[in-house]
C-alpha cells in the first residue's frame, strides 16, 4: 500500500476542508434540532399542564358530587353517569357478583326497549339491576316493563316496573370485574 504524505493527496481521500464542512453541517443540524426540540418541549409542557388541570377539576367535581349525593341519601352521580357494583347472582352469567357497571340516567324512561338492562328501585325501595323482557303498553297508553334476572334459575319479577322507578340503563360493564 502507498504510504507517506503523498498518499493523502489522492483525490479519493477526504480533505480537511471536507471534514470541516461536515462538522459545520452537523453543528447546524444540531442547532435546528435543538430549536425544534425546545419548541416541542414547550408545546408538550403547555399541553401537559392543561390536561393536568382538566383531570384535577374532574376529580374535584366527582368528589363534591359524591359527597353531596351521600349526604342526601342518593346514588353518586357525575354528569348523569353512575357506577354500581353487583351484589347478587341474579344476573349471572352476564353480570357476576362483584362486577362494576357504568349506567346512565335515561332521557325518557317510558321509551325503554326489550333486552335493555336497567337499574331500578322496587316497591320495597331496594335497588335492583335486571333485564327488560317485555314492554307492556296498557289501553290508556301507560307503559310498564316486565323484568327478569339473566340467571336461568330466576323467574320473571312479580311486580311490573313503572318508568318513574327507573334509575339508570346499563352502558358498560367494567372488564375483569
Amino acid at each position: 500500500m502507498e504510504e507517506g504524505p503523498g498518499a493523502m493527496q489522492d483525490p479519493k481521500y477526504t480533505t480537511p476542508e471536507q471534514i470541516e464542512a461536515m462538522r459545520q453541517a452537523i453543528f447546524r443540524a444540531k442547532g435546528r434540532r435543538g430549536r425544534r426540540k425546545k419548541e416541542r418541549s414547550r408545546l408538550a409542557r403547555v399541553t401537559g399542564r392543561v390536561f393536568f388541570s382538566i383531570v384535577i377539576v374532574l376529580m374535584l367535581a366527582a368528589l363534591v358530587s359524591i359527597q353531596v349525593a351521600k349526604s342526601r341519601g342518593k346514588t353518586p352521580d357525575l354528569l348523569g353517569y353512575q357506577l354500581y357494583m353487583i351484589e347478587s347472582g341474579s344476573m349471572e352469567p352476564t353480570l357476576p357478583v362483584g362486577a362494576v357497571i357504568l349506567s346512565r340516567k335515561p332521557k325518557d324512561a317510558s321509551r325503554l326497549k326489550e333486552n335493555e338492562i336497567v337499574t331500578f328501585r322496587n316497591e320495597s325501595g331496594l335497588t335492583i339491576t335486571h333485564r327488560i323482557i317485555e314492554v307492556i303498553v296498557a289501553d290508556d297508553g301507560t307503559v310498564s316493563y316486565r323484568t327478569k334476572g339473566d340467571n336461568p334459575i330466576s323467574s320473571p319479577d312479580l311486580e311490573l316496573l313503572t318508568p318513574d322507578r327507573v334509575i339508570a340503563v346499563l352502558l358498560w360493564k367494567m372488564p375483569f370485574t
Binding site: M1, K12, Y13, T14, I19, M22, A29, K30, R33
Partner: protein
C-alpha cells in the same frame, strides 16, 4: 473526544468469561508432501481466550492462522478435540457462524454506494439514539482514531484493507461478544494499524473480545493484549504480549554503525556472557541467560575499545524480537 461507553451485549452473555476454549483440537485438513506421511495442518491445539481481551494469532503459515480462526468461528469442522465458544458449545459439523460471533474475512461486507460515515450511520441505526448526535459521535470517533482521511470517501474507492478496518469499526457497535478478524494476508499501513489499535481498545472497553490473525508483529504489539504463536500446526506460545516481550526478547542493545563488524570483534572476547548478532550495519547485543547485564557496562566497554558508535539504543523489547527468539529456540 468524550465517548459514552455502553455495554451492549446480549443479556445472556454478560456473565460469560471464556470466549474460546480449545482442547486437543486437530484439523481435518492435512499437508501432503511427497515422500512424507501426511501431517495435520493443526494438531493438538489448546487455547483459552477470555473476555474482554484482544488476541493476535501469529504464525509463519497463513493457512494455519486462517484455518485456526475459521475453526474458532465455526466455519470449518475439526477432526478431534473440543472447541467451546462463548460457553455455549458448538456442534462439530455445523458450519454456521454463530449469532454471537462477528466474522470478518474480506472486504465485501460494506455497501459500495455509501461513504464511510453513511455506512456507519446505516450500521448503527438500530441503536436508535438521535441521528444527528450519533452522526457527530461517529464522525468524531473516525477523526480521533485517525480515519479522518477516509471518513467521507465512497466505499467503492477504498482499498480492501481500508474496507476491513471500517468493518472492524462496525463490530464495536454490534452485539457480538466475539469478533474474529481473519485477514492475516492483508498489509495495513500506519494509518490503518493505528486505527485498528484504537478499535481494538474500543472493543475491549465494550466488554467484547477481538481475535485477529496477523503476520505483522508491530500490529500485534500495538493492538493486542494477548498473543499466540502457531507454527508447524502446533501452538508454541500463548500468553500476554507483555510477558512475551519480557521473556523472549533477549536483545539488550542495538548499535548502528558502519564499523559494526569491528565493534563486534572487539567486544565479543570482552563480554563472553553476551551474544552478538550482526544484521547489516546493526549489531544486536543480547543476553541469553537471566543475568540482567547493565547496558551501561556494555557502553563503557565499547568506549574503552576505542569506538564511538553513531547510534546506540536500549532495546525497547518488541514482539518481533521475541518471536524471532522463539524461532531460534524451536529451530523454526
Amino acid at each position: 473526544m468524550k465517548r459514552t461507553v455502553r455495554r451492549q451485549l446480549e443479556p445472556g452473555f454478560n456473565t460469560v468469561e471464556t470466549v474460546v476454549f480449545m482442547e486437543g483440537l486437530s484439523s481435518i485438513e492435512h499437508y501432503h508432501t511427497r515422500g512424507e506421511r501426511p501431517r495435520r495442518v493443526l494438531e493438538n491445539i489448546n487455547l483459552v481466550i477470555k473476555r474482554p481481551e484482544s488476541w493476535g494469532i501469529y504464525g509463519r503459515s497463513l493457512l494455519e492462522i486462517k484455518l485456526l480462526l475459521e475453526v474458532m468461528a465455526n466455519i470449518k469442522p475439526y477432526h478431534a478435540g473440543r472447541c467451546i465458544l462463548v460457553e455455549r458449545g458448538m456442534m462439530r459439523n455445523k458450519r454456521v457462524i454463530l449469532e454471537h460471533v462477528f466474522y470478518i474475512c474480506g472486504p465485501t461486507m460494506l455497501y459500495d454506494n455509501m461513504n464511510v460515515l453513511e455506512f456507519l450511520m446505516f450500521a448503527t441505526a438500530k441503536r436508535g439514539s438521535g441521528a444527528v448526535y450519533r452522526q457527530e459521535q461517529i464522525f468524531e470517533l473516525l477523526l480521533s482514531i485517525g480515519l479522518g482521511p477516509i471518513s467521507l470517501t465512497p466505499i467503492a474507492r477504498l482499498t480492501r484493507e481500508e474496507k476491513v478496518v471500517v468493518t472492524l469499526l462496525v463490530t464495536a457497535y454490534s452485539e457480538s461478544v466475539m469478533i474474529v478478524f481473519n485477514v492475516p494476508e492483508y498489509r495495513f499501513n500506519r494509518m490503518l494499524s493505528t486505527a485498528i489499535a484504537h478499535i481494538a481498545a474500543l472493543i475491549k472497553e465494550r466488554g467484547k473480545t477481538l481475535i485477529m490473525g496477523s503476520k505483522d508483529c508491530r500490529l500485534i504489539e500495538k493492538s493486542c493484549s494477548h498473543t499466540a504463536y502457531v507454527a508447524e500446526g502446533r501452538m508454541i506460545y500463548q500468553g500476554t504480549v507483555e510477558e512475551l516481550r519480557l521473556t523472549y526478547d533477549k536483545i539488550l542493545l542495538i548499535i548502528e554503525d558502519p564499523e559494526a563488524p569491528q565493534i563486534m570483534e572487539r567486544l565479543a572476547p570482552r563480554l563472553p556472557e553476551l551474544h552478538f548478532t550482526l544484521k547489516g550495519r546493526r549489531l544486536l547485543i543480547s543476553e541469553p541467560g537471566e543475568d540482567n547485564t547493565d547496558p551501561h557496562l556494555i557502553y563503557e566497554n565499547i568506549i574503552r575499545s576505542g569506538f564511538a558508535p553513531r547510534s546506540m539504543k536500549v532495546n525497547p523489547k518488541t514482539v518481533q524480537n521475541a518471536y524471532e527468539e522463539i524461532d531460534r529456540q524451536y529451530d523454526l
